[in-house]
């Protein structure tokens, strides 16, 4: 199972800044191991972020994104205590959803 994300969200002057740190190998499929075998691709393909139940960010990720990706974005609105939900799906069908409250 995938490891948890670390999500921090803070509202200021009607804008919420969300910072997400994900734990993922983000293997490109281009690398070879010490035995010369190709390391199979394993990376996040889709990511969504919701404010309460409203979708605020939908992104397509690919193999060019680094290991343990860090994502920061802002959206209008959001009050202290509101729920932020971030989910991702990878090319092997693994997924992970984590929640945080706006501070």
């Amino acid at each position: 199972m995938a490891s948890p994300m670390r999500i921090r969200a803070a509202a200021k002057d009607g804008v919420t800044e969300v910072r997400v740190l994900m734990s993922h190998v983000m293997e490109t499929g281009q690398r070879k191991d010490s035995a010369g075998e190709v390391i199979p691709a394993h990376f996040i393909t889709e990511l969504t972020a919701k404010h309460n139940d409203k979708l605020v960010l939908s992104a397509e990720f690919g193999p060019s994104v680094s290991t343990n990706p860090y994502l920061a974005f802002k959206f209008k609105g959001g009050e202290k205590g509101d729920k932020i939900t971030v989910s991702w799906v990878d090319n092997k069908g693994d997924s992970r959803t984590d929640e945080a409250q706006i501070a």
Binding site: S3, P4, R6, R19, L21, S23, S66, T67, N68, Y70, A72
Partner: protein
């Protein structure tokens, strides 16, 4: 004749000023600041916290009774006072060796497994995650190791000797790269460890997450690599030479804030 001398003088002038301007261009502080905002070392810290509380090993015990020097189970501020002398172990220990000792005595996980293991793998990787957890709870603390203890003092002196000791096929010492201001290897600026600030910068920024290789390195790992880079014999994990160098750096940097865990290019 006079003209030629002048020309030479101008050349020397250029040669001296060039590295200085190159260094300004290679200022990675802003970049590092951006990275620090989402330092993936946090992921290791989370893993380490989990490991601290999970019953593991042949004894099926947690590490919650581990004494890092401030009493059993006290993590906050402990890293800032390591290395220190531990009565129960009978030696000066750094974070890694102390945690290794706890893993053996409390959980029954043999230290040999870690000492003979490889970096970033198996129990040694788990130990690194625990280090991430422990140092994060000393973030912003001032380095405060007890140099008044004779055993610690002895280690400090051994570390100082090791720092200046030239060895290996290239006849390098730590001091070859780390005893002048403004030195660098490629784009990495090297702290001058003979100064208080430089020592604190070196000691207080490891363990660190290395962005380019997506790896989390502890101080034992960093120093092992310093020896490897000098083409010297590779030190044994947790051996006194590494603890001595650590004690030297920490002792020299005493009183300055540590920035654990670091983030590197």
């Amino acid at each position: 004749m006079r003209k030629r001398i002048k020309a030479v003088a101008v050349c020397v002038g250029i040669a001296l000023t060039a590295p200085a301007s190159a260094q300004e261009e290679l200022n990675f502080d802003a970049y590092r600041e951006m990275l620090a905002d989402g330092n993936p070392a946090e992921l290791y810290e989370m893993e380490g916290e989990e490991l601290w509380r999970t019953a593991r090993g042949p004894n099926n015990a947690t590490l919650e009774q581990c004494d890092l020097g401030l009493g059993a189970g006290v993590v906050a501020g402990a890293a800032a006072q390591l290395p220190r002398y531990f009565e129960d172990a009978g030696r000066v220990q750094d974070i890694e060796t102390r945690l290794m000792y706890c893993m053996e005595t409390l959980q029954g996980i043999p230290s040999k497994e870690i000492i003979d293991g490889k970096f970033l793998q198996g129990e040694r990787a788990k130990l690194a995650a625990l280090v991430a957890y422990v140092v994060t709870h000393s973030k912003g603390e001032k380095i405060a190791i007890d140099l008044s203890h004779p055993k610690v003092k002895e280690m400090y002196e051994l570390g100082e000797r090791t720092f200046y000791y030239r060895l290996g096929v290239m006849d390098f010492s730590c001091a070859s790269c780390h005893s002048q201001d403004g030195k660098r290897i490629r784009a990495t600026q090297l702290p001058n460890i003979t100064t208080r600030e430089g020592a604190a910068e070196g000691w207080g920024s490891w363990p660190a997450y290395r962005v380019s290789s997506s790896q989390f390195w502890t101080m034992q790992h960093r120093l092992w690599d310093c020896f490897r880079q000098q083409r010297a014999a590779e030190p044994i994990f947790g051996s006194d030479v590494i603890i001595a160098l650590s004690t030297f750096m920490a002792g020299k940097g005493n009183g300055i804030e540590a920035k654990w865990p670091g983030v590197k290019r």
